[in-house]
């Protein structure tokens, strides 16, 4: 963890459905790489954090201190990918659902 970059970036997170108690009815996958976003969105923000225009402005306002109490922009998921989940419904029938936004591909400051 300690040698993780300070700047907003994607960090590794593997989710095991047994850890969250859903493995009884989830047939597959038993786990998946979800990742998460963490890190600073400090002024000046490097291009790599792909700030939105609003985040850039907010970051400047905060740095200049025009208005007190403005936090720095947040490091959040930008591009995400879907996950197909095979599970048993309440009647024990097998269901396949493709859930969007289950895994982080890129992070950004917003």
């Amino acid at each position: 963890q300690w040698d993780e970059p300070r700047v907003c970036s994607r960090r590794y997170l593997k989710v095991d459905f047994a850890d969250i108690g859903w493995n009884e009815w989830i047939i597959s996958p038993k786990s998946f790489d979800a990742y998460y976003c963490s890190g600073a969105c400090e002024f000046p923000m490097p291009k790599i954090v792909r700030p939105s225009n609003h985040a850039t402005i907010q970051s400047i306002v905060r740095a200049v201190g025009i208005v007190p109490g403005i936090p720095e922009p947040c490091c959040v998921p930008d591009k995400m990918s879907s996950l197909g989940v095979l599970f048993l419904d309440e009647n024990k029938n097998v269901v396949l659902k493709v859930y969007p936004n289950m895994s982080v591909e890129t992070c950004a400051c917003r």
Binding site: G21, W22, W25, I26, I27, S28, P29, K30, S31, F32, G65, P68, G69, G84, V85, L86, F87, L88, D89, E90, N91, K92, N93, V94, V95, L96, K97, V98, Y99, P100, M102
Partner: protein, 338 residues
């Protein structure tokens, strides 16, 4: 091949090869079969695992939607006829049905015995020939829908006459219109009767050849922020009627209130925020009432005035009104020395 029935797919290899040949990237089909429990052997489980494999490998949307629901049959014998019942009530209102297919196993036809007919040979050496057996009996497929609270036969929703295949194999029929009409009328219990004109032999009972229904749908609610919880979070962490989630189960009515001081900017010093100064301009200043705070020698904390205000009023007024913690002389000496 009944698994390739969906027009948008290339023919899938026969289900008979099961999943042994495919190694799931995450887990072996054996694991998945174990996860399916006793139902792992039936064809519907094999079919669904194959759809999952297809999606996971190639991202192929099942049937062009984002949901496939399978429905196992419950077998009953009614008036000496085999009838299969399907409970479709687990379909969600947000799931728009794209197509539905009925998958069933046709037994190899039992050819009727050759017909013996009385025959007078017209020509001397002509022997009586047994007539070839007649065509195998046709298979009739009848669908009825029942609403949950009536015990009637149900409304006839569809009938098909099928030629039995030359050998036993799985077949699939598109029953989209039947399912959509039944759902529109709120009749989510469906019965299917495979009538070959013969009495029920009960052969199908609990065989892996039980028929099943697949419904391909587009769940319009799946893009909602928390759609995964709607279908996968089974135990609500705070079921209705539970005590306030914040209160620990055995806690007394704890007088303390969680709060955060309104630190307007990074704290530069360890002075405590002013006590009675409440900058009028800070819109969200927390209004602490006496009774909310801890009954203790500490007095209510006030949010620090904004930087602008501080600059305006100058440090001295601020210092005068702010509270510096009074430590005893010994502690102060130690602190100065440090």
């Amino acid at each position: 091949n009944h698994m390739a029935v969906h027009p948008s797919w290339s023919a899938l290899p026969a289900a008979a090869d099961g999943l042994q040949g495919d190694k799931d990237s995450q887990q072996s089909p054996g694991d998945m079969a174990a996860a399916l429990g006793p139902g792992a052997q039936d064809m519907v489980a094999v079919h669904m695992l194959r759809l999952y494999e297809k999606y996971s490998r190639r991202g192929a949307r099942p049937g062009g939607g984002n949901t496939v629901r399978s429905f196992r049959a419950r077998l009953e014998v009614v008036n000496q006829k085999t009838v299969y019942f399907f409970n479709l009530t687990s379909m969600q209102d947000s799931e728009m049905i794209l197509t539905a297919t009925f998958h069933f196993y046709s037994e190899p036809p039992r050819w009727p015995r050759a017909r013996e007919v009385f025959c007078k040979p017209r020509v001397k050496n002509m022997s009586c020939r047994l007539l070839p057996p007649g065509p195998p009996a046709r298979l009739h497929l009848l669908f009825r829908s029942l609403s949950q609270n009536t015990a009637t036969q149900g409304l006839l929703r569809g009938a098909m006459a099928l030629m039995p295949p030359p050998r036993g194999l799985w077949q699939a029929k598109d029953i989209s219109s039947i399912i959509k009409a039944a759902r529109r009328d709120g009749e989510l219990l469906l019965s299917a009767q495979l009538d070959s004109g013969e009495k029920d032999t009960g052969a199908h009972r609990h065989s892996p050849h039980m028929p099943y229904i697949l419904v391909y749908a587009n769940d319009l609610a799946i893009s909602e922020p928390n759609s995964v919880a709607v279908t996968l979070q089974r135990y609500d962490p705070f079921p209705a009627g539970d005590p306030e989630p914040r209160a620990a189960p055995n806690s007394s009515a704890d007088p303390r209130v969680r709060r955060a001081t309104q630190a307007s900017g990074p704290l530069q010093d360890n002075e405590l925020p002013g006590l009675d100064e409440r900058p009028a301009h800070v819109p969200h200043a927390q209004h602490y009432h006496k009774h909310e705070l801890w009954p203790s020698p500490f007095r209510a904390l006030k949010p620090r005035p904004g930087r602008k205000d501080r600059r305006k009023k100058g440090q001295d007024t601020f210092a005068a009104s702010s509270q510096v913690l009074d430590f005893d002389e010994k502690t102060m000496q130690k602190a100065r020395r440090r």
